[in-house]
């Protein structure tokens, strides 16, 4: 029974997160690019998205420090690493290039597949291939 609640909760989290992306305007690649166009005609909206998210998130993650296990049971899988590594920096830098080229990151791209956007579908398929390549040939991120 708890397993079913767990899955329903997972689904609803996906729905809420997707709605947050839609309401904030982050599912429009042009809006992302207008934010990244800091030297041009700049749209600062994404700062407000991040600000709103982190303001609420700080409180939520503070609450987590009072927990020893997840509500649905099981250990907390929260990363504890603090070391700044080359894969972290190089991977994030490459991610940013791709983000700046198309204006899609993983969440909004997957939501856009649900909007019936063919370019989002192609983007997500390419993204999956990129993930497989990394998992298959580069294990550095697991160290």
């Amino acid at each position: 029974m708890k397993k079913h609640f767990n899955l329903v909760s997972q689904y609803l989290i996906g729905v809420f997160f997707g709605m947050g992306l839609i309401i904030s305007g982050m599912t429009n690649p042009q809006k992302i690019l207008n934010f990244l166009d800091i030297t041009g005609n700049w749209d600062p909206s994404l700062i407000f998205v991040m600000g709103g998210a982190v303001a609420v998130g700080l409180a939520g993650f503070y609450l987590l420090t009072k927990r020893s296990e997840a509500f649905f049971g099981g250990a907390l899988h929260v990363p504890k690493r603090r070391d700044i590594t080359k894969p972290l920096v190089i991977g994030s830098f490459l991610f940013g290039i791709g983000w700046g080229v198309a204006g899609f990151c993983p969440g909004p791209a997957i939501v856009s597949v649900g909007l019936g956007q063919p370019k989002a579908l192609v983007f997500v398929l390419a993204m999956l291939i990129g993930m497989v390549i990394c998992n298959r040939f580069f294990t550095a991120h697991k160290n």
């Binding site: 909760s9 997972q10 989290i13 729905v15 809420f16 997160f17 997707g18 839609i22 309401i23 904030s24 305007g25 599912t27 690649p29 042009q30 207008n34 990244l36 800091i38 030297t39 005609n41 749209d43 600062p44 998205v49 600000g51 709103g52 998210a53 982190v54 998130g57 939520g60 609450l63 927990r67 997840a70 509500f71 649905f72 099981g74 899988h77 990363p79 700044i84 894969p87 991977g91 994030s92 830098f93 490459l94 991610f95 791709g98 700046g100 080229v101 198309a102 993983p106 791209a109 997957i110 909007l115 192609v122 983007f123 390419a126 993204m127 999956l128 990129g130 993930m131 497989v132 998992n135």
Partner: protein, 147 residues
């Protein structure tokens, strides 16, 4: 730099952002995991882990979010994609590879990481913001216009 007042939407951005933060906060308290979309999706591709079902449920939630947004609130999001097909494919490959190699994306590092004051996520967010700024600068102002 000029401010694009025409497209600037601080209200919906703040509201949407707060929903994202609330969802991420709920997720880690309910399920004990970071709500990082790239990590959740890349786990789908690693069969040996045997935890495909919950990952799939969450991805289905993301994909059906437009349906619920339309039914419940009558919202149909505007989408303008400047990139051509080849650019979309290259971008997808880089985003997929980069997010996995760098252990996270805009949700995992950007929203969750900054919310829990992780130094790694702060560096990662700085790195992808910087390369995003440079990339758009090169595409729009050096190469000139849409690709």
């Amino acid at each position: 730099m000029t401010i694009n007042w025409l497209d600037f939407t601080p209200g919906p951005a703040l509201l949407g952002g707060m929903i994202l933060g609330l969802t991420a906060a709920l997720y880690v308290n309910l399920h004990g995991r970071i709500l990082g979309i790239s990590g959740i999706v890349s786990g789908l591709l690693r069969r040996e882990q045997g935890d495909q079902l919950w990952r799939l449920a969450l991805v289905c939630g993301l994909m059906t979010a437009p349906f619920w947004a339309s039914i419940l609130f009558g919202i149909t999001p505007l989408q303008i994609i400047d990139a051509n097909w080849l650019s979309v494919i290259c971008a997808g490959l880089m985003v997929g590879f980069g997010a996995t190699y760098g252990s996270g994306c805009t949700s995992g590092h950007g929203i969750c990481g900054l919310s829990r004051l992780s130094p790694r996520s702060l560096v990662a967010t700085g790195a992808f913001m910087l390369s995003g700024f440079i990339t758009v600068f090169v595409i729009r102002h050096v190469l000139g216009g849409a690709q």
